[in-house]
């Protein structure tokens, strides 16, 4: 039986989100037996470095690549080079539509943002002022989420404050600091929507922020809808530290990436886009997801 070497290339290795995808990939590779999963990407979110890493994988003649695209035009070229070298290429988490990739596994980031906005609108239809916390200003998928949130809240009574979104550069400490700054700047701020799990990656800092605003949250004056559904985030939701979570399924992305690449190698046909779906979590269904 031939053994395949598949590389999974995240946008940035310093983001815990991709660790989950890696774990899914490793688990699936082990189950499959004839597949090796290599996890390697730029440490920080930086497109040129990602392109160089793809080059190195082409040199190494890996059998398949699953890429979370950091920058669409530059990855489009890299993907073309990889495909030309006979490597099966798919994208996950962030897509490069129009490139030579064989499939995309993940969520539609616009939908993701729409879902976040919809959750907020459902939780509190009476509206108010809201602010968004984003990761880095250069990330296309995050920009799409922001657009999604804005679009779904258009026409509702929610209005975005000036200075939103703030960018925390994927730094959990900074994300929490920005949440308290946003609240200080606009004391009647009705909702904060971090479009990534960053503030919750600093659970104690996040709890301190929530506790300080406990009264308002309990009174329904401040609503917190947070993206991503890592375990610690679910626990925080369970304990009443946020109103809702919307999450992608990175673990599944990792698993499916292996399956899809293997299928491609075996010459099977794969669907162009594989949505792993979103988890919409509130107090009601959090216990189920935690198991």
């Amino acid at each position: 039986e031939t053994k395949y070497r598949f590389a999974i290339v995240p946008k940035a290795m310093n983001n815990p989100f991709f660790d989950v995808a890696r774990d899914g990939c490793l688990k699936r590779a082990k189950e499959l037996g004839n597949v090796e999963c290599i996890y390697k990407g730029p440490v920080e979110h930086e497109p040129a470095t990602q392109a160089q890493i793809i080059q190195d994988f082409i040199t190494q003649k890996v059998d398949g690549l699953a890429i979370s695209v950091a920058d669409v035009p530059s990855m489009t070229k890299s993907i073309e080079a990889a495909a030309a070298a006979g490597i099966a290429v798919i994208t996950f988490d962030a897509d490069a539509p129009g490139s030579k990739r064989s499939a995309y596994i993940g969520t539609n980031n616009k939908d993701f943002g729409l879902a976040l906005g919809k959750q907020l609108a459902q939780l509190k239809p009476e509206g108010g002022k809201y602010a968004i916390v984003s990761g880095g200003p250069g990330a296309k998928n995050l920009a799409e989420r922001v657009d999604g949130v804005r679009e779904s809240l258009k026409g509702t009574k929610w209005v975005e404050v000036a200075g939103s979104p703030t960018f925390c550069n994927d730094d959990p400490a900074l994300a929490v600091q920005q949440m308290s700054d946003l609240r200080t700047a606009t004391p009647d701020l009705g909702a904060i929507v971090p479009i990534g799990g960053w503030p919750m990656f600093a659970p104690e800092g996040y709890k301190a922020f929530v506790n300080k605003n406990r009264k308002d949250i309990d009174a329904g004056k401040l609503t917190l809808v947070v993206a991503d559904t890592l375990k610690m985030q679910l626990e925080l939701l369970r304990d009443g530290y946020s109103n809702a979570l919307t999450g992608q399924r990175p673990f599944e992305m990792g698993e499916k990436a292996m399956d899809t690449l293997l299928a491609l190698k075996k010459g099977e046909k794969v669907p162009d886009v594989i949505y792993t779906g979103l988890d919409l979590v509130t107090k009601d269904n959090v216990a189920k997801l935690l198991n």
Binding site: D19, A173, Q177, D181, A202, P203
Partner: protein, 370 residues
């Protein structure tokens, strides 16, 4: 003991030492000590900035926000105190950011592991009660102390390696600590498999109390900072070690020739820098409730910038705790103020740069005019 001066600019000597020099008048106060230093003028710029910010946002001067600001800047200020020692000797330490994360991870991993019955050594600290709950076998707080000491111990080792490479082997501080930045960050990913770790176990509550608590509204990290800054002022200006640190920054060869043990002092300085960074990381992780592997990424630039903005000179020989703190406050006020003023996020970054340059410009204007 007199007030510690920020730069080694001398205070005017007692009058009886002066009489012999007929061509020496009285030094005006603004030509003397702290007042003649960059620190003083950056402080002025800071005050001006605070006034501007308080107009830009009515919430800037509220108690809650000031507490926030005090807490936030204390988070890099302790590391800045440490690196100021290094900078005074003319060195640089790029590994502080990585080391913050690494020390924090070690502390929380040790804390968790010592509190989990079954893991190595944990039997000394905890045992399982009959009902399956973990019970502290020892003095409460001991786990906390051991794990913080573990975090500081790795910092010490990293500082020692930096110091030996630089002071004994003679490598360039920039290259050595840049290499160490990479090594330590990598090790952090290795030991945690990229996941980071969380403080856990029965002592975590003490840990949180010590890092998140406040005394009469003053955040705990701020209190540590002030205490450490006072110690630092004393050490720099009133001990032989402090004097040697300045001498090395002024003229390393001269210090060597006059019998200062330069390698030893330099090693000590890098160890101090590393310990401060480690402590800083541990405190941050207490506040965050987590020690993520990517914590404090590229904080080294902020830390060095804070020290330099406050008046420390990368060429060596100048610097002090007051400047370090003022630099940190300035950076935090800029950050916090721009968010409060609801400036567009893209413009924020540009404005941060402009304000940093403007703040140090004040000192140059002074140098031209006075």
């Amino acid at each position: 003991m007199s007030v510690p001066s920020e730069t080694p600019v001398p205070e005017t000597a007692a009058p009886d030492l002066q009489v012999t020099f007929t061509n020496v008048g009285a030094t005006r106060w603004w030509h003397r000590g702290v007042f003649a230093s960059q620190t003083a003028y950056v402080t002025l710029a800071l005050l001006a900035l605070i006034v501007v910010m308080s107009f830009a946002s009515p919430y800037f001067l509220t108690e809650g926000n000031l507490q926030n600001v005090a807490k936030n800047f204390s988070f890099i200020a302790i590391a800045t105190l440490g690196i100021t020692f290094v900078i005074i000797t003319g060195g640089i330490d790029l590994s502080v950011g990585s080391l913050m994360a690494f020390a924090a991870m070690i502390t929380s991993m040790v804390m968790t592991s010592l509190s989990t019955p079954g893991l190595p050594l944990s039997s000394l600290f905890v045992h399982l009660a009959a009902d399956g709950k973990t019970v502290v076998a020892n003095v409460p707080g001991l786990i906390l102390i051991v794990s913080v000491l573990a975090g500081l111990a790795v910092s010490l080792v990293v500082g020692l390696v930096n110091g030996v490479c630089i002071a004994v082997i003679g490598l360039s501080p920039f290259v050595t600590t840049l290499g160490m930045l990479s090594i330590v960050r990598g090790l952090g990913y290795v030991i945690s498999n990229g996941k980071g770790s969380f403080p856990g176990g029965p002592d975590a509550v003490y840990f949180y109390a010590l890092t998140q608590g406040d005394v009469a509204g003053v955040p705990a990290p701020f209190i540590y900072l002030i205490a450490l800054a006072l110690v630092m002022a004393l050490v720099l200006h009133h001990t032989a070690f402090g004097r040697h640190v300045f001498a090395i920054g002024g003229n390393e060869k001269a210090a060597e020739l006059t019998g200062v043990s330069v390698p030893r002092a330099k090693i000590e300085v890098y160890v101090i820098g590393a310990l401060a960074a480690g402590l800083q990381g541990i405190i941050i992780s207490g506040w965050l409730g987590s020690a993520p592997a990517n914590m404090a990424t590229s904080y080294e630039l902020n830390v060095i910038a804070a020290a330099v903005i406050g008046g420390a000179n990368l060429a060596g020989g100048i610097g002090g705790p007051l400047g370090a703190i003022v630099g940190c406050v300035l950076l935090e006020v800029i950050r916090n103020g721009l968010v409060l003023a609801q400036v567009n996020s893209y413009w924020q970054q540009t404005l941060v740069g402009v304000i940093i340059i403007a703040a140090v410009l004040v000192d140059r204007v002074r140098a031209r005019l006075l």
